[in-house]
Symmetry: C2
Subunit: 172 residues, 2 copies
Amino acid sequence: MSIPNPPVLDAIYNRRSIREFTDMPITPDTVAEIIKAGGWAPSGLNNQPWRFVIVRDKNVREDLAKFTKYSQIINESQICIAVYLDKRVMYNDVKDHQAAGACIQNMLLATEALGLGAVWLGQILINKDQVNQLFGLDSNYDLMAVLALGHPKHRKQKSQRKEINELILNEF
Amino acid sequence: MSIPNPPVLDAIYNRRSIREFTDMPITPDTVAEIIKAGGWAPSGLNNQPWRFVIVRDKNVREDLAKFTKYSQIINESQICIAVYLDKRVMYNDVKDHQAAGACIQNMLLATEALGLGAVWLGQILINKDQVNQLFGLDSNYDLMAVLALGHPKHRKQKSQRKEINELILNEF
């Protein structure tokens, strides 16, 4: 199957958070590609602290959905990927959290490359201990985010960003 | 000028940390594009906590280089971009550090898109207070990383990653 795989700058600028999905399924190969892309993020000392839980099963997704106010998004999605850090591999909280962010951004861009949509869910972290329990994970694993994925129902999402001159503090 | 801007998955898989640069300069438009790409990262509540300091001046780069054991990379680079978080805009340490990582990854991918090379320098954070002083920034700004950029001297860098089956904790 041919995939859009647009030029990288286009993907960066055109990617939007997708919260409404069709009922078209996502293939295992597609999920593998998204996780592979996440794994190619840079990390300090190349420690690759990221780990993943894949949730395709509808009942488990319904249980997961109870831990966030964005339950409808999880229930409508075709698949969720929970992104974890393995605390035993971490070496610096700030840098490992940054690495998780780089990994998630690669996954979102890969999702865009594959013609799918996704949203980065962070509010669920308030119930991260219950999420670990649902997945049978001990406290060595620290939940970073849940991505909800599917085929976008539409692409009318708008977003906006500050002008770059608002972001530059100083120039030498 | 035409730029490579390769398909996003290719950029994700082919990007390498570049630590040796030619003396070919980087145009202001190129720097602006890289910062724009960083600014299009996702952030919690779209708070866009990232801020930037651009260091083109050779003397300031030499001063900056003194704060890391990777001084040669900074001195050989054509330009450095310091990535900051504005603490007054932050709302959650973990999520804002993740946002910084997503922003930096966008910048690294944009650098690849533009045919340039970059390396993400984190070790310099041990001297982040001195870096703030050099840039005339108060403690509202928290240094996240310094990116050193230039035209790659070569592209023979190798890297490796874990297999994805080593990264998947569970599947439902």
